[in-house]
């Protein structure tokens, strides 16, 4: 059976503000689950509840069917929203320390630390105090800290913020390696293009409620508008008068249009072919940004 990290009807309020309202979603083993939402939507609170930093008012968090305990949490790799490591400790020392606190033996922790230092290209700086590193390198060290104990689950709050494109690639490579080994990865991000590129599954949260959750492709299909793109050799202006067609954009030979539910896309294609060669025709799938905008309102 595939292992699943599950939030089940988790609610939490701070004072009179309901921050999470019946939040349920799953993070499946071996998949990258992107967690998106506006600032204050409840991403960080959800992650802190998973990590046992906050308690839910109601609902529960389970891993492979069992209630979350400290023993399980010790096997999670966590990257908090606001970056935190010891400024005056060397990268290597803090990796070793955190690994030991997560229950790793002395030799295993040394081995893992060297492996991560090399993989994340921190080799030359591993003996320097963290505060002497560039922000990008500090971020890499933070990721190494989340991975030091070979976690069974990864929970990363905004892991890509503050990374340059090269570092993003390095981190993606490392995370992919983990999902390939069957680790579920939950990561939040407000950079929708990064999420678009990376996630297998997507969870959209707004005002403390889950607005959409599922496989990326499935979500795109579900939220696809009856929208099409057509490129012909001549002028596509005739579409304006075609029954059931609502033109969205027309630029000479290129057109983007919506179809009435009753209208048949194949019939539009035939009409186009009857007027001359068709260079491109097909449905337009929405970007994550569009889905996000649609569901998060």
């Amino acid at each position: 059976m595939t292992k699943v990290l599950r939030l089940d009807a988790v609610s939490r309020r701070f004072g009179d503000r309901q921050v999470l309202d019946g939040v349920s979603f799953e993070v499946t083993a071996g998949r990258m689950t992107g967690f998106v939402g506006a600032n204050g939507a409840g991403k960080t609170t959800s992650m802190r509840i998973i990590m046992g930093v906050l308690a839910p008012d109601s609902g529960e968090v389970t891993w492979a069917g069992s209630r979350m305990t400290r023993e399980i949490r010790r096997r999670i790799g966590y990257m908090p929203e606001e970056r935190g490591l010891y400024p005056k400790m060397t990268v290597r020392d803090q990796l070793v320390y955190l690994g030991r606190l997560h229950g790793l033996g002395h030799d295993a922790v040394r081995r893992n630390a060297e492996e991560l230092i090399e993989w994340l290209r921190l080799g030359e700086r591993a003996g320097d105090p963290l505060e002497k590193l560039s922000l990008g390198n500090q971020q890499r060290a933070q990721i190494a800290a989340a991975l030091i104990h070979d976690p069974d689950i990864l929970v990363l709050d905004e892991p890509f913020s503050g990374l340059d494109p090269l570092a993003v690639d390095t981190v993606v490579e490392v995370l992919r390696d983990r999902t390939n080994r069957g680790v579920p990865v939950l990561f939040s991000s407000h950079q929708l293009d990064v999420v678009e590129r990376l996630c297998d599954d997507l969870v959209v949260i707004a005002a403390g409620q889950i607005r959409a959750a599922g496989a990326r492709g499935q979500l795109r299909a579900e939220h696809a508008l009856p929208r099409y793109r057509l490129t012909v050799d001549g002028d596509a202006g005739w579409l304006r008068d075609h029954p059931g067609v609502h033109l969205i954009d027309l630029d000479g030979a290129h057109a983007v249009f919506d179809l009435d539910p009753s209208a048949d896309d194949q019939q539009v294609l035939q009409a186009a072919l009857a007027r001359g060669p068709v260079r491109a025709f097909g449905p337009v799938t929405p970007s994550l940004a569009e889905i996000f905008r649609e569901v998060a309102q």
């Binding site: 802190r48 990590m51 046992g52 930093v53 906050l54 308690a55 069992s66 209630r67 979350m68 305990t69 400290r70 949490r73 010790r74 999670i76 966590y78 908090p80 929203e81 606001e82 970056r83 935190g84 490591l85 010891y86 400024p87 005056k88 400790m89 020392d93 320390y97 955190l98 030991r100 606190l101 997560h102 229950g103 800290a145 989340a146």
Partner: protein, 363 residues
């Protein structure tokens, strides 16, 4: 990994970091030099026996007192040598002692006859020492608990400020962090004191100091150690709690003011009232001043045998209560990230309790 193992790992990190801290190393070296200077230097500076120019035959008493005797021809030669600083003093044939500014004590003592003295109620302790020793205990307890206490608070604030604490509490209980920090602070403070004590004692031995003083000090120091240990743990729990209240190092001095006062006031009280047995007796039972006041009374020979035991029990009981309260404030404020937490808010915060309950339910 059990709780003790986790506490050990946390404490080991604190100690490692401190042992690499230049300020800590510098202060330790400074204290050690101070201890050496205070014990060895007086013997070196006193310069040994005086030299005496004697006109005529030197009385046997001078040689017996170990004075450096030189025979000179006449009074004029003796005066010249004293004036030139070749000798400390001169003894003329009529028994007159000549010196430049004041006569050396060892020479005057060697030439004097003393009456037999019998004291009916001998005071074991020199009056200067009766003031100096309590001050010394006070100074050590005050400076060490202030320095190491502040470092505990800073280390707590650092973890909160950098949010590394979120990673930590996901893997170990909050109380383990607290215990590790208090343990590390205590080990470091105690270690530094022990090192200074060893160096000071060795210095006294090398300098050939007063062994009678050592005999008098021994029981006071013997009791000072357990009082110091427990008293420090009590203060350490308070320092950790105030460290957790603030989000930034800059706010620490304000938030820790009550604890600073609890360290400072007893120090001044014990120093000021070291000559007043009644006040000192009260102070020796108040947990915050007991670690310095009780050893002081023991040194002055004013405390009965059972008194330090009772005072230590009181101190230990208070320490347990402070640990429980400190842990609650620490738990209640450590994960609150929105600015400075008030003591009352930290006390009322139930997040830690709820998380612990969840943990028990799930287990």
């Amino acid at each position: 990994m059990n709780t003790f193992e986790a506490v050990r790992i946390v404490a080991a990190r604190e100690i490692r970091v401190k042992l690499r801290d230049k300020a800590f190393l510098f202060s330790t070296v400074f204290f050690l030099l101070f201890a050496v200077a205070a014990t060895v230097a007086p013997a070196l500076l006193s310069g040994g026996a005086s030299t005496v120019a004697v006109v005529g035959t030197a009385p046997a008493a001078l040689g017996a007192a170990g004075l450096d005797v030189r025979t000179v021809a006449d009074e004029a030669a003796a005066r010249a040598q004293v004036r030139d600083g070749d000798v400390d003093a001169a003894l003329l044939s009529d028994g007159t002692v000549i010196a430049l500014t004041d006569a050396p004590n060892d020479l005057v003592n060697a030439l004097s006859t003393r009456p037999a003295v019998e004291l009916l109620d001998p005071s074991a302790v020199d009056e200067t020492l009766a003031v100096m020793v309590p001050m010394f205990f006070g100074l050590i307890f005050f400076s060490v608990s202030l320095m190491f206490g502040l470092q505990i608070a800073q280390s707590v604030t650092e973890e909160k400020q950098t949010r590394v604490v979120e990673i930590l509490v996901a893997s170990v209980p909050v109380r383990v962090l607290l215990a590790g920090k208090v343990l590390a602070g205590t080990v470091l403070a105690f270690g530094q004191i022990a090192l200074i004590a060893v160096v000071a004692l060795a210095g006294m031995r090398i300098a050939g100091g007063d062994s009678g003083l050592l005999t008098l000090l021994a029981p006071a120091i013997g009791w000072f150690l357990p009082f110091f240990l427990i008293g420090f743990v009590m203060l350490a729990a308070m320092w950790a709690a105030v460290g957790a209240l603030v989000n930034r190092q800059e706010d620490l001095s304000g938030a820790s003011m009550p604890v600073q006062i609890l360290v400072l006031l007893p120090f001044f009280a014990v120093t000021m009232f070291s000559g007043d047995p009644a006040v000192l007796k009260v102070l020796s039972y108040v947990p915050f001043s007991a670690p310095t006041a009780m050893p002081a009374r023991l040194f002055q020979g004013d405390a009965a045998g059972w008194e330090p035991v009772l005072s230590l029990v009181l101190l230990a009981a208070t320490t347990v209560a402070v640990l429980v309260a400190g842990a609650r404030v620490y738990e209640g404020s450590l994960l609150r990230s929105n600015g400075r937490t008030s003591m009352a808010a930290a006390w009322r915060d139930r997040e830690a309790r709820r998380l612990a309950d969840l943990e028990t339910e799930s287990a």
